[in-house]
């Protein structure tokens, strides 16, 4: 009997703890239904719920009475951004990726947009554009740039399409192609590290149905490479052998 009472009290306490979130409308549907059922059968709990609703209303009133920040906050932020831009023009090297992400995000679900962004940025990073743009500025980002090399006196730093051609030339014996779907939570840094971990693997195409074609220079068979990729669960959502 005592055990039953204890359990019932525990259940009631659990429900009561959820009342603030129920009042704010932030409970899951299942929990909200549990709370509703309890409220319908327990007058004291319903009375306490009224207290919670009262607190909710006054907390909103209190916060709304706090007003808003002056324009100084925005001015300060914009000044900060200007200072950042002056100190670190590198940020502008991401323009190609952003453009690409913008196009994709209009066509695909949000998840895919994140993957697309990450992979697009990875392509940019791999292409060596970072180095070129760091020196030359963002305006040259979408053009083929010339960069002086100490030994040769000059070499091509490829734009993205040029890079893709170069990457495709890596195909054939000694390499495999894998279709990879990146996890929506994977960051650019994580994806870049992941690709580097596969002997500087290259994203050569995509996304197509959410998958990117990744070329890996390896002597392993494609099945092993796929399995190794799948082991990176935080970065890779799915990996399949490509027929290429």
């Amino acid at each position: 009997m005592t055990t039953t009472n204890t359990k019932a009290q525990q259940l009631r306490d659990d429900i009561e703890a959820l009342l603030p979130w129920h009042a704010a409308g932030t409970l899951s549907r299942r929990d909200a239904e549990r709370v509703e059922a309890a409220l319908a059968n327990d007058n004291e709990l319903a009375r306490r719920y009224d207290l919670v609703r009262e607190e909710l209303g006054e907390t909103i009133r209190l916060n709304e009475s706090l007003g808003a920040p002056s324009a100084r906050a925005m001015d300060r932020l914009m000044a900060g951004l200007e200072a950042e831009a002056a100190a670190a023009p590198r940020r502008r090297t991401f323009n190609v990726g952003a453009w690409f992400a913008g196009q994709i995000s209009q066509l695909r679900p949000r998840t895919l947009a994140w993957s697309a962004t990450a992979a697009a940025l990875a392509i940019v990073l791999q292409a060596g554009l970072i180095a070129g743009l760091y020196v030359d500025g963002a305006e040259k980002a979408q053009q083929t740039a010339e960069m002086k090399a100490p030994e040769s006196g000059g070499m091509k730093v490829a734009s993205v399409p040029d890079q893709n051609r170069a990457v495709r030339s890596l195909g054939g014996p000694g390499s495999v192609a894998v279709l990879v779907q990146f996890a929506p939570t994977a960051t650019v840094e994580e994806i870049t590290r992941f690709l580097d971990g596969f002997g500087r693997a290259q994203v050569i195409r995509g996304p197509s149905s959410g998958y990117y074609t990744v070329r890996v220079a390896t002597k392993d068979d494609v099945g092993r490479v796929v399995q190794r990729m799948k082991d990176n669960t935080g970065i890779v959502r799915s990996a399949l052998p490509s027929t290429e």
Partner: protein
């Protein structure tokens, strides 16, 4: 761009697009300001801190993982900034400044009680809670954050969030009772 999701704005911000930053700022700065102001109780400092919050967003947008809502991320950064500022300047100093900086538009709880304005008494008592209790109550009631989100912002387990909320409400009832409003709970 006004209809763009917060997540898409973060992508654009990571690309260095200042306009996206302005849109995100316009969308969230008032709530972030109020959250910070309730913690630091100093309007000038709160304004400075929200600029820093969004500047951090500008710097870290490329690392945002979209595991949580952008608003949750903003509040987590804001909380960190506010607590750092409190540590740096010393809470006592800020509390003294608070009296002068935050306009006091109402009576104290006892006077309000005499005027029978229960709502005003409740708001006064909400203002008298500890920063820890104010924070959880604001996050749940005003910022509409779920248990998991509060846990992420504050950096505590979900069960602790529920316990903290319970004790914050209990303390609120005690303050109300002391001000003459007995709610019969707890």
């Amino acid at each position: 761009m006004q209809g763009t999701s917060d997540e898409a704005l973060i992508v654009r911000i990571a690309a260095g697009e200042k306009l996206a930053m302005q849109v995100l700022f316009a969308r969230h700065h008032v709530r972030v300001f109020r959250f910070v102001l309730r913690l630091v109780r100093n309007e000038t400092l709160a304004e400075d801190l929200i600029s820093e919050v969004f500047l951090d967003v500008w710097r870290q947008a490329g690392k945002f993982e979209a595991r949580s809502a952008v608003s949750t991320w903003l509040l987590a950064i804001a909380r960190f900034k506010a607590l750092s500022a409190l540590r740096k300047r010393g809470e006592a100093e800020l509390d003294e400044e608070a009296a002068a900086a935050v306009e006091d538009t109402g009576d104290n709880p006892e006077v309000a009680m005499q005027k029978k304005d229960k709502g005003e008494i409740l708001r006064k008592c909400l203002g008298e809670l500890s920063p820890e209790h104010r924070e959880v109550i604001d996050l749940v009631y005003y910022h509409e954050k779920g248990i998991e989100e509060v846990a992420e912002i504050v950096g505590i387990p979900e069960n602790t969030v529920k316990t903290r909320m319970f004790y914050a409400r209990k303390r609120l009832s005690e303050l109300l009772k002391a001000a003459g409003v007995d709610r019969g709970w707890p």
